[in-house]
Symmetry: D2
Subunit: 310 residues, 4 copies
């Protein structure tokens, strides 16, 4: 069936404090496109090369963090199948009608063992990627791509307990591959797991944390290391709080920058990384190599990277 079922992280819901600062950070700085106007306390963004109407929803709240992660699935009928399969893990689901999330089809909603709210939906209005579908050409008009020149929202890393149960659910219910894992070198207990729905080295990852429903970062794909440097130049120019300046992950082999939005939510821009298939062997890193697994240019683990979540 080639690619079916859950396709990708289609939407992330984050909490922010201030609408103007959020617009400046996600719109002007990162260059996301504000693509829908809904409730007064929400901002809807997408990356330039996405076809769906929006992929990032920012909600005004009192504290930062994640509201939910929503996966797009290929067929609406998948929802009932997932409901049944989740029941075997004792997970109860609710359905939300089409249109409750604007321009979106109905959603299946449930809570992961790590405490995160997860959505599944099959439909969302599409407004294109700045180019027509007939004789599209290769590059949109000047100004459509701006700021950090992101391509797509790519993945999220979430923290919580019970990550092994999450892994089982993503394996058995959703068919995700375990592309990589970081394990304790003495006990072989997984501390972080990286799960792939397609050919990306990961679509979602979980980091073990005592507290549930923690948010580590949302990541935006860039086209090249040159664009990564361009993003870093903007980050420095605008004095955006940097967590880790340009480096390369051991896990995924992606080139990366971590920084924070004005509310403390961690963002990543990245590029590269290998092509992962379900028959690619799972790569395992142990804690003797935690520096290299995370930041392979200097093999230096960052305390903040491992422990600061919202």
């Amino acid at each position: 069936m080639a690619l079916s079922g859950l396709l990708r992280v289609g939407e992330v819901g984050l909490r922010i404090f201030d609408m103007d600062e959020a617009r400046r950070h996600y719109g002007d700085r990162i260059g996301l496109i504000e693509s829908y106007e809904g409730d007064d306390d929400k901002l809807y963004y997408k990356c330039p090369d996405e076809h769906d109407l929006y992929s990032l929803v920012l909600r005004k709240a009192d504290e930062a963090g994640i509201d939910y992660v929503a996966f797009k699935t290929l067929e609406d009928a998948d929802l009932e199948n997932y409901e049944a399969a989740l029941a075997e893990f004792g997970i109860e689901v609710t359905y939300v009608d089409a249109g409750v999330y604007p321009k979106s089809g109905r959603r299946l909603i449930f809570t992961l063992p790590t405490g995160h709210e997860m959505h599944i939906y099959a439909h969302k209005e599409q407004n294109g990627n700045g180019m027509p579908t007939r004789n599209p050409g290769t590059i949109p008009d000047e100004g459509y791509i701006r700021g950090m020149r992101t391509v797509r929202l790519d993945h999220v890393l979430l923290g919580g307990p019970n990550i092994e149960t999450n892994r089982e659910i993503f394996d058995k219910v959703f068919g995700f591959a375990l592309s990589e894992q970081i394990v304790d070198h003495e006990t072989e207990t997984p501390l972080a797991i990286f799960l792939s729905a397609s050919t990306k080295p990961h679509d979602i990852a979980f980091l073990i944390q005592p507290e549930s429903n923690r948010f580590h970062h949302v990541s935006f794909l860039l086209e090249s290391v040159n664009d990564l440097y361009h993003a870093a130049d903007l980050i420095g120019k605008h004095e955006i709080a940097v967590d880790v300046a340009p480096n390369r992950h051991g896990v995924t082999r992606g080139a990366t920058i971590y920084f924070f939005d004005p509310f403390g939510n961690r963002n990543e821009v990245f590029t590269g990384g290998y092509v992962h298939y379900p028959d690619t062997p799972t790569l395992t890193w142990d804690t003797t190599q935690i520096g290299r697994a995370t930041f392979s240019h200097d093999n230096m683990p960052r305390e903040s990277f491992l422990n600061v979540l919202t």
Copy 2:
């Protein structure tokens, strides 16, 4: 189910005349790794970042061209399912035992309506990508990556009649998406179709041709435009016959170079291109834009590109 069934072009069989010249071209120049020693008249190659033992098989023969294209599928049990589904198209299959193709599982073999021999197999011995699976690091030892610094064998473009029937088979039997097509602007008849098994803009493509079983090119993925320029530098240095110097395709948005092996088989190195999902709209180019669809830097159709096949 995420990614299942046919995963990718796992192997291409091409015909060459001279073993030494083939080794110089595919080994020394392109930098593929000769990874298996089998029959005296065959050469087995892989790209550096592939895990399976080989992906390109060159067979000494009297004329250039393609022997077969082989897809890897996720499960061995898929073969019987495909057999049944192909029967509905009146396509007969044969099975070849494991080991006939060295270090490979059993294969389902049949002929596409375009006249091409197609294989499906689920298993092939893996010898890794030059890095261990425990604490792999991010870069193999010096010398492992050489020549044009290819990453993976990516796709093939084949020519023949009945490409619309091929499209139907790849849709109904294998679940491939039609990512793009080039159509006659008056009749809307498809002249070329681009089919995706995963998130690549294409895994296989077919170009309408009066003669069946024609080979247009096999394509190798590179990591960056810088590496594309490096490949072009090598091509010029070694006076490899160039079909089209660096350019960008309209279709797929990939940056590309076309060149020929010493026997007339067309090779491509490319990088970039967008991420395609099953819910991405199909892009259609018509023949008023054939130049831009093929080579979007100068919008100039190349006669040789459209008509020279082996």
Copy 3:
């Protein structure tokens, strides 16, 4: 003494037919900055990373071509020295007062043996590169760099007879190094000479042509091969007439694209090339390698490239 005397091509005067089309091409497409408003029939442009007020002057006229090439020299007193040295070659000069060329110091003007009008001046008003000189930062505000993302006006290639006399003058009077030359392989007669004032592989070059005062191209520096591909994407999008799509020169090793303005004047964007010092050996290409000398990715000489001048 380091760098003294003629520093670089500080200004090129070209002829165009239509002000609006010129603005669209040089301003919107290439992304040059219109930095001064003078006579009604002139447009003044600069590249984003130049400090001087303008470097390209377009004059409305009946036919395309070059009006003059102007070099900036370090000291105003240099002018009299050059006058004396040029007299030994029988070249008469005139002086033009400061301000005749707007915001420019006085100029020494004379005609080269190839028929080109050449200016020398030491002063021009500076308006900076979009960043302050105190704590400048590394990247200007969004929108300052646009279009093809040029860095600087880099060099010109001019055609005419007597290029060897030009070479002698640039050597003896101005101290330029002969970085490279293309010679007839039978007679060793130079057909093209490349002259460097500093550490660039060339600041000005001359191509032998029967007619005098011919213009081959003006070239703008880009930062990377990625930006070169971005420029080519824009060229294709806007259907700018391409002479040669992305390639690499043998001479200078620069990565290049040639295209035409709406009036037939050839433009180049390029990146890379080696660092040249006066003690670097002169490189000589002969006509057996004219393809590689000009376009080393396919070693294919382009008729139009060698013979179309304005």
Copy 4:
């Protein structure tokens, strides 16, 4: 006279402890070419795209640090001129005969006010850059460029007292431009000065330090940000001690990595940076922006960077 007098840092003499470790670091890892065999306690290296026989001399000693920095000048007769001009600063010189430094012309040797031994010489044997001077092509044979793919030795940063006197000498005697400086924001006292002999943003720089004759780093030019990332991948792979992972300097705008050889000498690989001319305004950074001046991606001053010298 275009470029004359001191051309560039032609040679740096460093001290190392162990010949094998030095060979592994500078030869295998960085990819410098061991190009001459001299005394048993010395190693002679060059970068692949340099024409002169060697540019880095490593001498076995008991402690790390710099022996001398040697500038190449255009003409042998320059030496007497410099002798005279240095005398006005009360600096005494000695001459060393041709051949004492192998394959090198005679040298003028003296001590800078910062305590560094400086050489000037006009001649050194050339063995080319891996390509002929007749029809050179654009890329040397496979294996010639290896390791971190350096292009040239570019500049040094040295520490000591009296940097303002050094500045005066480089200005008055050698005609270097002050491209940038970092000053104390209260006193405007220069803490670091960056001096350019040609069109590079610096050829040599001095950092104020209480102790004289201190060595901060020697820097090797790379071709692209992609190659910088490749270098960082090798640095991580081989666990070379990193000082600062990929970042961008505010000063010079160069993309940079700092790391240490096994003896504690700091090395840099870098790429990019702007084109500097003598008429480019001097850029001044003050200590309120010391973070951005040094590392502009995160504007974070590094204690070790400012204070660890050998």
